[in-house]
């Protein structure tokens, strides 16, 4: 069973996958006539070069922690929630409604209520695909993709009609009242007389994201429900035999997943410098969550690391496209490569490493190499 030590599984395999993705990205840079080394330097500087840039990286990482956790919880139940994008948008609707129509006395209460509303709206948006998967066997991947499109339609309608203040040109809600604006990390640093993170929007919800990581860790590995989710994910028939209801677990896992994705909206509505809900607020974070979950091996610690990496990539990519003619879609390409290598071609990366450990490693020698085909 143990063909290689655990560190190789959780560190070496993702790192090799990442290297492969990086090599192909370098080829892409070359093919469009961009010096790869220059591009990487620009991206690295854009990601962590200044205090502002670092703040943006952390801001995006907060988003990706939420969406990564969302995808991971569903993955544990062997379900593929590709609808994070839509759930974030609808979660944003929930947060916006709560912040705009209720006068909150203090940001802590607004955070609590906004977070809950975002989570509930996100969960509700996945409820119908979840129900159709659980009861009718409709493919969750296709239905959640469809719900992404419907979510962006709903959002555009709400932002250009119901929630747009009269006379405003931008398709967005009104700016939230000051009490519903979360303090940024720069505000907090300011209390200690520091100018850290500059004007970047990274805010208090990064701690909510970390709390969510602890919550997911407890849920998946330390509760009965988490055990049921994992058992169902490993083998549906065995789980059924053990008396676990497939319908309930499918529903619950996806609702939690949707709630986590929805909670991302707290960061990108209440947390940004002008707190409001704008069109296309998710900006692809729902999809990046897939790459984050795969790279992080569906574990909260891995997800935090992967989210930081993708936060840096996203921010660095934005700076790169501002400085050169490379469009921001380069981030989508790298994201696709990471999904490919860590997700689908995992075996291609893993087998040679396993082979090396079998040949040179000490422990796993007992198993003959011929066991695998």
């Amino acid at each position: 069973m143990d063909k290689m030590p655990k560190w190789a599984d959780v560190v070496l395999v993702p790192v090799v996958s990442l290297l492969l993705a990086a090599i192909i990205s370098v080829i892409v840079f070359w093919s469009v006539g961009q010096n790869p080394w220059e591009a990487i330097k620009l991206m690295a500087f854009g990601a962590v070069g200044t205090s502002d840039f670092l703040g943006y990286t952390l801001f995006y990482a907060t988003n990706f922690i939420f969406t990564g956790l969302a995808v991971a919880v569903a993955f544990h139940a062997s379900l593929f929630n590709i609808g994070g994008e839509g759930q974030v948008l609808v979660g944003g609707l929930g947060a916006a409604i709560v912040c705009l129509f209720i006068p909150w006395p203090h940001w802590t209460l607004a955070l609590l209520a906004g977070g809950m509303a975002a989570a509930v709206f996100g969960a509700l948006w996945v409820a119908i695909p979840a129900y159709l998967q659980a009861r009718r066997g409709s493919h969750i991947v296709i239905t959640t993709i469809m719900f992404n499109f419907m979510a962006s339609g709903l959002l555009v309608y709400m932002l250009s009609d119901a929630l747009r203040p009269a006379g405003q040109m931008q398709t967005a809600t009104a700016i939230f009242p000051e009490a519903a604006h979360l303090p940024s990390l720069n505000d907090i640093a300011g209390l200690f007389g520091s100018e850290l993170f500059g004007r970047s929007p990274v805010n208090i919800s990064i701690f909510i994201a970390l709390l969510a990581c602890v919550g997911v860790w407890l849920l998946i590995w330390h509760t009965r429900l988490g055990y049921q989710i994992r058992a169902f994910g490993q083998s549906e028939s065995a789980a059924k035999y053990a008396g676990i209801s497939a319908v309930n677990i499918t529903m619950i896992a996806l609702l939690i997943s949707g709630a986590l994705a929805g909670m991302m909206a707290v960061n990108n509505t209440m947390g940004i410098n002008t707190p409001q809900l704008v069109d296309n607020a998710a900006g692809g974070a729902g999809f990046i969550g897939i790459a984050v979950a795969l790279m992080g091996r569906n574990h909260p610690v891995g997800i935090i690391i992967a989210a930081l990496l993708f936060g840096a990539l996203y921010q660095g990519g934005a700076e790169l496209s501002a400085a050169t003619s490379i469009p921001v879609q380069i981030v989508v390409v790298i994201q696709a490569l990471v999904i490919m290598f860590t997700g689908a071609l995992d075996q291609m990366v893993r087998s040679p490493i396993e082979g090396l450990f079998l040949r040179f490693g000490g422990k796993g020698v007992g198993a003959p190499a011929a066991v695998k085909e």
Binding site: R135, I142, I326
Partner: protein, 385 residues
């Protein structure tokens, strides 16, 4: 609506249906062989870009078509590597291919042509023009004054690009390959019971790769059709989710070629209506009847079933009823509640644009008949257990 409008609608449906049909047949070959392919979208997009780019630089649309097919096959082989050779997750591989194509087409288009992620527009021999069949009218004025039969012939039958006729021919061809050849029998078998095919001494891997490559060819034609026949050039994300809708059509068609034609024509009609009638006005009473009717139907369905059905469908019908009431109250300004029933309101254009996706969900919900996928679909084949 006169007869000519109907003919035009049919004509538009065909044009909308062809890329769906080609992608749907592509998915059909792949899934019949047991390989789920969510990456139809990405392959079409990559083919759309490369065929437009190569058509532009070479000036010959056929060269472009083959380039498009080539890149689509290349991506198919990557999908094959992931899902056949390395036995990875087929859904994840497909998703990765979609993102890869979506990102790379824009990056490369910007790098090569520097026109904001699109190719220069194509003209002349770099583009597929409509074929005018013998005797057909080509000018709009002639068509409108012709007899109904002639209108049908000139507008609906004639005047399409050659790829439309190729696409339609693919239906009987696919049927023939799948149901009347030895290769087709084996291909279907490998999606149902790969171990049986293996026992008979036929290569599971070989069959699955051939299916995936056929899938690539068909997606390549679909993509090239979009950028060199429907449009004159590539634009960012121009496939507009057709790959996913094709998958829904495939399920709707229960993995059969002729049904696929029907399903895609239906979706094509849907898009054609969608494009033509952006501004739909409805009387409030009809909105209420529609929404409350759907709610009642869902409640009736749920009531005799399990608690989960009651919760979800009950909640959904409550939302729909609330929307109906809100519309009613909202339009009752000066005219009063009774008068408001006969006020007309504009259906939001976003809702109309979402209708095809809603329709896909309803189709997938399986209320239109039960669909049974190929038994070994999505599972990598392991020779020895």
């Amino acid at each position: 609506m006169d007869f000519f409008t109907l003919v035009q609608l049919g004509d538009a449906s065909i044009r909308m249906a062809i890329p769906l049909l080609l992608a749907c047949l592509a998915g059909l070959f792949s899934e019949r062989a047991g390989i789920f392919d969510i990456g139809l979208e990405g392959k079409m997009l990559a083919a759309a870009f490369l065929s437009a780019a190569v058509s532009y630089t070479s000036g010959n649309v056929w060269v472009g078509l083959f380039a498009g097919i080539g890149i689509s096959i290349a991506l198919s082989i990557v999908h094959g590597l992931a899902s056949i050779t390395f036995r990875g997750n087929q859904l994840i591989s497909g998703v990765a291919i979609n993102f890869f194509a979506a990102g790379l087409t824009v990056v490369i288009a910007q790098g090569w042509f520097a026109q904001g992620g699109r190719t220069p527009s194509l003209s002349g021999a770099a583009r597929f023009d409509g074929l005018d069949l013998p005797g057909a009218f080509t000018r709009m004025r002639d068509k409108m004054q012709a007899s109904p039969g002639m209108q049908f012939y000139s507008e609906f039958v004639s005047g399409h690009s050659i790829l439309v006729y190729i696409g339609l021919l693919m239906v009987p061809l696919s049927w023939f390959i799948l149901y009347r050849t030895r290769f087709g029998l084996r291909l279907r078998a490998v999606g149902e019971a790969p171990e049986a095919v293996d026992t008979a001494g036929i290569s599971v891997v070989g069959l699955r790769y051939s299916a995936v490559i056929i899938c690539g060819i068909l997606c390549g034609i679909a993509g090239a059709y979009l950028s060199t026949a429907v449009q004159a050039g590539f634009t960012k994300d121009m496939t507009a989710n057709r790959g996913f809708i094709a998958l829904a059509a495939l399920i709707f068609a229960k993995w059969r070629p002729w049904y696929a034609l029907g399903a895609c024509l239906l979706f094509g009609l849907f898009f054609a209506i969608d494009n033509r009638f952006q501004n739909i006005q409805l009387q409030v009473v009809w909105i209420i009847v529609l929404l409350v009717g759907a709610s009642v139907a869902m409640v009736l369905y749920a009531v005799k079933r399990e608690r989960i059905d009651v919760i979800v469908l009950g909640g959904l019908s409550a939302v729909l009823t609330a929307i109906a009431l809100a519309t009613w109250m909202g339009s009752a300004g000066e005219v009063g509640l009774a008068g408001a029933l006969f006020e007309t309101v504009k259906v939001p254009s976003q809702l109309i644009q979402s209708l095809p996706y809603l329709f896909v969900v309803i189709v997938l919900a399986g209320f239109v008949g039960k669909a049974i996928p190929p038994r070994a679909g999505g599972e990598p084949y392991v020779k020895e257990r």
